[in-house]
C-alpha cells in the first residue's frame, strides 16, 4: 500500500470510540414527536474501521450528527478517541464544498493555522486530484467532488473519521475506484473510522466491524466482527461471508 506519511504517527487516539445513545426524539414542524433512536450503543476500537448498516430512515445520519456534536439534544453519552482533543473529520452525504473556493483552498481551509502551509502534494496525488487543485467545485463531477471531500477529511489527520454514505449515487465503477482510494489513504494512517452505508458488500470489504441497526426507532440488531486481513478478502471469502450474514440478519440486504 502507498506510504503517505513516512513515520506512521499514532492515529485514532488512545481509547475506543464509545457511543451510547439512549434515546433521540425529533419534534416535527407540526409538533408531533418522532422517536428516531431507541438505543444505539457500540464501540469502535482505536485505529479500526467500523460500518453502520440499517434500513433507510432508521437514524444513521442522526447518529453521526450526534457524534459530530451537531445535535446535542439526545439522551446518552459519548466518549471520543483522544477525549475530544484530536480532530474529527467528516465526509457528508453530499460533498459540502465551498463553491467559491478552489479545490486546494477547500482542503486547506480545514487545516489549523499552524499547519496551513503543509505539503499536500502526496495526498492530492494519491486521490488523483493533482490536476484539479485550482478548479472550482462546479467544474467537478460528483465522483471528483467526493474525492475532494475525502482529501479534506484526511488532510486534517483526524483521530476520528466519520463517513456518511460516501459512495452513494456513483456508478459502480467509480464507487469501486473510490473505495480503493479510501482504503489506500486510510491504511497509510489508520484512524478510528465509522462509515454509514446501505451496501453490505462494501461493508464486508472495508470494515473490521459491522453494526446492524433495526427499523426506526432503531436499536442495535447485532454486531459482526471481521478478523480477516483486508488483503486476504477475496471473492470467494466475500460471497461466503455475505451469505452467512444474510442468514443471521435476514432482511438487511
Amino acid at each position: 500500500m502507498s506510504n503517505l506519511s513516512k513515520p506512521i504517527p499514532p492515529a485514532g487516539g488512545r481509547n475506543a470510540l464509545e457511543v451510547e445513545i439512549r434515546g433521540k426524539t425529533f419534534r416535527g414542524a407540526d409538533g408531533e414527536a418522532v422517536r428516531a433512536i431507541e438505543t444505539i450503543a457500540f464501540e469502535v476500537a482505536p485505529a479500526s474501521f467500523a460500518t453502520l448498516i440499517g434500513p433507510s430512515g432508521c437514524g444513521k445520519t442522526t447518529t453521526l450528527r450526534i457524534i459530530l456534536g451537531l445535535d446535542e439534544d439526545y439522551e446518552g453519552r459519548l466518549r471520543l478517541p483522544d477525549e475530544g482533543h484530536g480532530r474529527i473529520a467528516a465526509v457528508f452525504q453530499e460533498p459540502r464544498l465551498l463553491p467559491w473556493r478552489t479545490v486546494e483552498e477547500n482542503v486547506r481551509l480545514a487545516l489549523s493555522d499552524d499547519e496551513a502551509e503543509r505539503d499536500l502534494d502526496q495526498l492530492f496525488a494519491v486521490l488523483g486530484l493533482a490536476e484539479m487543485r485550482s478548479r472550482y467545485p462546479s467544474e467537478l463531477s460528483l465522483g471528483l467532488a467526493r474525492r475532494v471531500a475525502l482529501a479534506r477529511a484526511f488532510a486534517v489527520r483526524p483521530s476520528l473519521l466519520l463517513l456518511d454514505e460516501p459512495f452513494v449515487s456513483l456508478d459502480e465503477q467509480t464507487a469501486t475506484r473510490l473505495r480503493k482510494l479510501l482504503m489506500d489513504v486510510w491504511s497509510a494512517r489508520p484512524t478510528t473510522a465509522l462509515m454509514v452505508t446501505h451496501n453490505l458488500r462494501e461493508a464486508v470489504q472495508l470494515s473490521d466491524r459491522i453494526i446492524f441497526l433495526t427499523e426506526r426507532p432503531s436499536r442495535v440488531r447485532g454486531v459482526h466482527d471481521i478478523a480477516k486481513p483486508r488483503a486476504e478478502r477475496d471473492t470467494r471469502w466475500r460471497e461466503a461471508t455475505l451469505s452467512a450474514i444474510a442468514k443471521r440478519y435476514s432482511g438487511v440486504l
Binding site: A90, R101, A110, S138
Partner: protein, 268 residues
C-alpha cells in the same frame, strides 16, 4: 425594426455579444435627438437644447465650482452609503439569523421603510442641527431599512450544510465569516448597494437643498430660483455621469471578480 433586431440577436451568437453596447449607444443617441428636436420646437428657456446645457456645464466647470459641489455631494453619498451598508447589513444579518429578534423588530423595520424621506431629513435637522453629521445621518437612515430587508433575506437563505461543515472542521469565527458566510451574502450585498446608490444620491440632493450651503442639491435650488434650467440639467447630468462611472469602474468589475467561481453557462 425592433423585431428584426431581436431576431438578429437570438439567431447568431456573435452579434449578441456586441449588441448590448451598440444598442445602448443607439438608444442614448435617440433620447438626445428627441430632446434636441423638442427643445428646438419649443424654443423656450424652460427647455434648453443640448448645446445650451453643455455651455452651462462649461461655465461652472471652468471656475471649478461644479467639481466642488459634485465633490461635496459625492462625499455625502459615500459617507451615507458606507454607514447604511455597515449598519444595515449588521442588523439584517442579525435579524435573519435570530427568529425571535426578527419577530420582535419586524414591525420597526416596516415602520421605518414607510417613513417618508422628507420627514426623516427634517427631524434630523431639528434634532441634531443643520450640520454635516445630521445630513449624512439622515441620508443613511433613509437607506438602512432597505439594506436590512435585503440582507435579512440573504441571512435566511444561508446554507446550513456549509455551516455544519465549518463547525466540524473547526473554522474560526473570522474564517467562517470570510469564507462561508460573506460569499453567500455577496449577491445580496450587490443588490442592496445597487438600489442603495441610486436611492442615496436622490435623497442626498434633498438633504442639501433643505439644510446645506453646498453640493449639487444646493446648486440646483439656487438655479431653480434663477430659473436657469440649463444649469440644473448640467448639474444633474454631470452627477448621473459620475454615478455611472462608479458603476462601471467599481461595482461591475468587483462583481465579476467575486462571482468568478460561478459556472459559466453558454447563453443561447
Amino acid at each position: 425594426m425592433a423585431l428584426e433586431l431581436e431576431h438578429g440577436t437570438a439567431g447568431t451568437a456573435v452579434p449578441s455579444r456586441l449588441a448590448p453596447g451598440v444598442v445602448t449607444i443607439v438608444s442614448l443617441a435617440g433620447l438626445l435627438a428627441v430632446w434636441w428636436v423638442a427643445a428646438t420646437l419649443a424654443d423656450s428657456r424652460v427647455l434648453p437644447t443640448p448645446p445650451e446645457v453643455a455651455e452651462a456645464f462649461w461655465r461652472d466647470a471652468r471656475t471649478g465650482e461644479l467639481f466642488f459641489h459634485l465633490g461635496m455631494t459625492l462625499m455625502r453619498v459615500a459617507g451615507a452609503f458606507a454607514i447604511a451598508m455597515a449598519v444595515g447589513s449588521a442588523i439584517g444579518i442579525f435579524l435573519g439569523m435570530n427568529r425571535e429578534a426578527n419577530r420582535f423588530f419586524d414591525p420597526w423595520v416596516i415602520l421605518f421603510l414607510n417613513v417618508p424621506a422628507l420627514v426623516l431629513i427634517v427631524l434630523a435637522y431639528i434634532w441634531f442641527g443643520l450640520n454635516e453629521a445630521a445630513a449624512i445621518g439622515a441620508i443613511a437612515v433613509n437607506k438602512i431599512p432597505n439594506v436590512v430587508v435585503t440582507l435579512r433575506e440573504g441571512a435566511r437563505a444561508l446554507d446550513r450544510d456549509l455551516e455544519e461543515m465549518a463547525r466540524v472542521y473547526r473554522f474560526s469565527f473570522a474564517r467562517t465569516l470570510r469564507h462561508v458566510v460573506l460569499p453567500q451574502l455577496q449577491p445580496y450585498f450587490a443588490a442592496a448597494s445597487r438600489s442603495g446608490i441610486s436611492l442615496i444620491w436622490k435623497i442626498a440632493l434633498v438633504v442639501e437643498l433643505l439644510g446645506r450651503s453646498n453640493g449639487v442639491g444646493f446648486q440646483i435650488n439656487l438655479y431653480f430660483q434663477l430659473f436657469d434650467v440649463a444649469a440644473i440639467l448640467a448639474y444633474t447630468l454631470a452627477f448621473v455621469a459620475v454615478m455611472l462611472i462608479i458603476e462601471f469602474l467599481l461595482v461591475q468589475p468587483f462583481e465579476a471578480h467575486s462571482t468568478r467561481w460561478r459556472p459559466k453557462r453558454a447563453r443561447g
